[in-house]
């Protein structure tokens, strides 16, 4: 296994961990709101949250490319702050976050929906505020769904290709991830290097599924 292969694998795992860590709080907030609150336009929010799940990742990537490009207000604002996103590692993380977010949010939501609301009602009679109840009762009791969601999101981030190649490109040593690397190696006739990346991808996927199954068993 070449140093290049290892470097790509390390970079991908690091980006996926970062993306998962950043996605989790957002997904917990979204999952909680969707599980425990009703408000006008909820169906619309649900649809938007799930959109990256059904949209082709390349299309999501195109949207991100526009959003963080110089022609959108967001891109201009970031540019004014001297922050460059497109074709950098930040774009890799953002692409991973966007595609994994719906999976994590759904898993968190169903985890929270399985928590008996009467525990929350009872905690309120003891004087706890809604935020305290969320932190001390709801989230600990929903931890299985949250952990499962995090692992699912991490796995999805590891394999992310379509959105990444659009918004981050395939710059060797800078934005090249496992999935993107396999594609570019095959394209440039470096099949052997591509097989090395494939092997590492398979090992990582195996590890993630194994850990998640063990966690589910341990808590059952």
């Amino acid at each position: 296994m070449s140093a290049e292969t290892w470097a790509i694998a390390q970079f991908t795992v690091l980006m996926a961990l970062l993306a998962t860590a950043l996605t989790l709080p957002l997904a917990i907030a979204a999952g909680w709101v969707l599980a425990r609150h009703s408000f006008p336009g909820k169906a619309l929010v649900e649809t938007v949250v799930s959109l990256p799940l059904v949209l082709p990742p390349v299309a999501t990537g195109l949207l991100l490319l526009w959003l963080f490009g110089r022609r959108s207000p967001v891109g201009q604002a970031l540019d004014a702050l001297g922050i460059e996103v497109v074709f950098t590692w930040k774009a890799v993380v953002i692409a991973m976050m966007v595609v994994s977010f719906p999976l994590v949010a759904r898993s968190v939501r169903s985890g929270i929906e399985q928590v008996d609301r009467r525990y929350e009602d009872l905690a309120a009679t003891l004087g706890a505020t809604p935020f305290r109840i969320l932190r001390t009762i709801t989230l600990p009791l929903a931890s299985r769904g949250i952990v499962a969601g995090a692992i699912l999101g991490f796995s999805r981030a590891l394999g992310e290709f379509g959105a990444t190649i659009m918004v981050a490109g395939a710059i060797p040593g800078r934005t090249q991830t496992l999935a993107v690397g396999i594609y570019t190696f095959v394209e440039t006739g470096r099949e052997e290097a591509a097989w090395g990346l494939l092997l590492l991808s398979a090992l990582l996927a195996f590890g993630a599924i194994y850990v998640s199954n063990r966690l589910v068993e341990a808590r059952a």
Binding site: A124, L126, R132, T136, I137
Partner: protein, 221 residues
């Protein structure tokens, strides 16, 4: 001794709950068959369910009033609630459950270490403190839930069939605990049950509910 004013209308799927009661007693018993609205009544007092109309007062504190649009959230009501199935938080051990309200509420509470040891003594919880709640018997769960509610120094303690999940032989061992709360801590109780003998042992006054209506109220014999 506390004056409790309950005048609530609560529409349910099966029936409409109408209760009007104003009493100054130490233990108000609520008696009725299952489905008569006993639990709904307690939830309306605790602030878990919002009545469609009416008023709930403890002393001069208005907890709910549809006329003056007052509806204090449960966390500000200072009502202790012990549901029928105790509902101990499964992610915490016995001590964590007992201390929950103290740790997570912003109420100013005085004399806590004393209260805690008194409760542990009265309810005989010493040997249970480090146990996981899943390992407790029905009666032990009830005692822990009672301590958890009393630690927040509620103005009233609501007990929903505290003996229902407990087998006959052990019932006679829990009732004395409840009587000690009444005698030693002077916390007014609303005690719900479908067992008349229990009420005769503990209540000063009994409301008889059927199908959501009060069909009788009387001072206990």
């Amino acid at each position: 001794m506390i004056a409790l004013t309950i005048d609530v209308t609560l529409r349910q799927q099966a029936f409409e709950l109408h209760v009007r009661e104003s009493s100054a007693v130490e233990v108000l018993g609520v008696f009725g068959p299952s489905g008569s609205g006993k639990t709904s009544l307690l939830e309306a007092i605790a602030g878990i369910r919002t009545p469609d109309a009416g008023e709930v007062r403890v002393g001069d504190r208005v907890l709910f009033s549809s006329a003056s649009r007052i509806n204090l959230p449960a966390r500000e009501r200072h009502i202790g609630y012990v549901p029928q199935d105790a509902l101990l938080f499964p992610n915490l051990d016995v001590a964590g459950n007992i201390d929950y309200g103290v740790r997570h509420s912003r109420r100013a509470l005085a004399g806590l270490p004393q209260l805690r040891s008194t409760l542990i003594d009265i309810l005989d919880l010493g040997p249970l403190l480090a146990r996981r709640v899943q390992k407790l018997s029905g009666g032990e769960k009830q005692r822990v839930a009672i301590a958890r509610a009393l630690m927040t120094q509620p103005a009233v303690l609501l007990l929903d069939e505290p003996l229902a999940g407990v087998d006959r032989a052990r019932r006679d061992r829990i009732l004395p605990y409840v009587l000690r709360i009444r005698r030693d801590l002077h916390v007014p109780l609303v005690y719900v049950t479908h067992d008349e003998a229990e009420l005769n042992a503990i209540a000063d006054r009994v409301l008889h509910l059927e199908g959501g209506r009060v069909v009788g109220s009387a001072a206990a014999p």
